[in-house]
Amino acid sequence: MRDEGIVGVAPARRADDPVLAAPTGLAAAPAPRRWAVARRFARNKLAVAGLLTIVVLYSAALAEPLIGRYPYDEIGFGLRDKPPSADHWLGTDRQSRDVWARLVKGGQVSLAAGFAAVVIIMTIGVTLGGLAGFFGGWVDALLMRFTDILLAIPLILLLITAASLFQPSLRTTIVVIGLSSWPGAARLVRGQFLALKGQEFVTAARAIGAPPGRIMLRHLLPNTLAIIIVEATLWLSYAILLEASLSYLGLGVQIPTPSWGNMLQDGQRELLAGAWWLTLFPGMAIFLTVLAFNLVGDGLRDALDPRHRRR
């Protein structure tokens, strides 16, 4: 759900979210052949376009020293708020810094922040959700009630409250997003483990004496992996939106380190003076990134589950 309502629909904020949650019952089907999945994905033009965009974005972030053209933090003189030109492709900001250089550097920061936050979300979500789904009983009840509580707090409020605990910085932004956003993923994985553990192959594994850890890691987890990958892709787009929102509010990544969110905050002051390029370009970058991840996530889901194809 685009909760949060700040921006966008968070993937599986509740695991039963019908649009963006990964398909259920997928794991029950025989594991699709890898090449068949790739072929189905390749047929989806939108998804391929999304994947290409992501490759370009990450390449640009990695090649930042090569393509930045100017140091992102070099404060110039007499070039305040200059519109886009041949020298400064995307113009300059109120401290005469080159917007293109800051956009590329900011992309590095935003993409890395999103990725790191998703690693935290999925690690906590898969571990807790998996344990709860497998063991059931009070472990499960405890986790479910805890997620009930966390999911009842509007995500952005939880983030702002948690962010106020620390000095704002790139690292705390990642940690705050990671620690606040895992409940949806946990419930999704829990549901899958719960559905799978009653199936015959698990009973068979138990019968030959496989210990619980082995059953979870070798039997349940591989069968849930497809869903986890789709979920992670959708969370990548959402985590980038959350980082941008927090930084826009001044609670995330701090200047002089640029991120797409704090560039928007910084540029907003110059908006009344007509410096539209300070607002337009960082926002476009966020939009393209989120769009690309959503397209890929959607394409992956369809490719992994032929029953859901092209709905």
């Binding site: 909760d3 019908p18 707090i153 509007p154 928007l264 009344l272 926002g283 989120v290 959607d298 709905r311």
Partner: protein
């Protein structure tokens, strides 16, 4: 009503008590763990120069007591329907503050939700009945775009374009309370566009897949085969069942309606709950933060129960267990 509904309802409502207790404990812990307190947040650095004054100010607010004592006091007041007085906002009772802001958020989000449904349902139907047509492809691409647009960015662009450049609409909603009826609507235009857009994209996408699912079922084929008019098949047989899952989707969006879009209310200076909470967190106004979280949290939990119940009522195949 399906059998067992009353027992189910009682169980779900009783469960709300421990959930709300847990919610209050988590939020209480979080806000007190944050560095700084209401006194330093309000008085700033110069207060530190006068420790005697600081101690007295904390004592007046009851902040000199141990945390468990503070929590039990707060909880005791809550059980008597008293959320305390705000530290800032002229010390008005938190409940009054929430009441006045609640309405602002509900109006704004309610209009955005309704508009979203009114546009999305027909769009979804058209898209599903002409699957893979140009219209359908446009709707698919359009909803992906609608879901990916960062709405605070869109809000900034609309502000600069519609208010600053063209001067058509007021930039922020500070004059809203004093405006008469038709003029008041002007303040709604930009926030509603921004908030309705993701709703439209999301609902349309969902309506389309729900409709496709139903159209593919046997009873629709039967209705067609017996020679029923296509329109009748579509609207009398398919649409009704396709709308059922929308109950859940709208239910899932309602928490958002109640919690307020913090950033959007901030940008348009909208007098709603989201902005209240944001200001309160910055001011370390503990009673207001706790009050808003408890009210929105309770509302979200109640809506979750109602959504599950509504789903069981409109779709007799769904039982009420769990």
């Amino acid at each position: 009503m399906p059998p067992g509904t009353t027992a189910y309802l009682v169980r779900r409502v009783l469960l709300l008590v421990p959930l709300l207790l847990g919610l209050s404990l988590i939020m209480f812990g979080l806000i007190h763990a944050a560095p700084g307190d209401p006194v330093t947040a309000r008085l700033g650095p110069q207060a530190a120069a006068n420790p005697e004054f600081l101690t007295q100010a904390r004592k007046n607010l009851g902040l000199d007591q141990p945390l468990p004592v503070q929590y039990v006091r707060w909880l005791g007041d809550l059980l008597q329907g008293d959320l305390g007085n705000a530290y800032t906002f002229n010390n008005v009772p938190v409940l009054d503050l929430i009441q006045s802001r609640f309405w602002g958020t509900v109006q704004l989000q309610g209009v955005s939700l309704l508009l979203g449904l009114l546009i999305a349902i027909p769009v979804g139907i058209v898209s599903a009945t002409r699957q893979y047509s140009t219209t359908d492809n446009l709707v698919t691409v359009g909803s992906f775009i609608g879901l990916a647009l960062p709405n605070f960015w869109l809000a900034l662009l609309l502000q600069i374009w519609l208010s600053v450049e063209l001067g058509w609409l007021p930039t922020v909603s500070t004059g809203q309370a004093r405006a008469g009826f038709p003029e008041r609507l002007e303040y709604f235009v930009m926030p509603v566009i921004v908030l309705a857009l993701p709703n439209i994209a999301y609902f349309a996408r969902f309506m389309r897949s729900s409709m496709l699912e139903v159209i593919g079922q046997d009873y629709v084929t039967v209705a067609r085969a017996k020679g029923l008019e296509p329109r009748a098949v579509l609207y009398r047989h398919a649409l009704r069942n396709a709308l059922i899952p929308m109950v859940t989707v709208v239910g899932l969006q309602l928490p958002r309606v109640l919690s307020g879009a913090v950033i959007i209310e901030q940008i348009f200076a909208w007098p709603g709950l989201g902005r209240l909470a944001y200001d309160a967190i910055g001011q370390r106004d503990y009673p207001v933060i706790l009050g808003v979280t408890m009210v929105t949290g309770a509302a979200v939990m109640v809506v979750n129960v109602l959504t599950d119940l509504a789903y069981a009522l409109v779709d007799p195949r769904v039982g009420v267990q769990g």
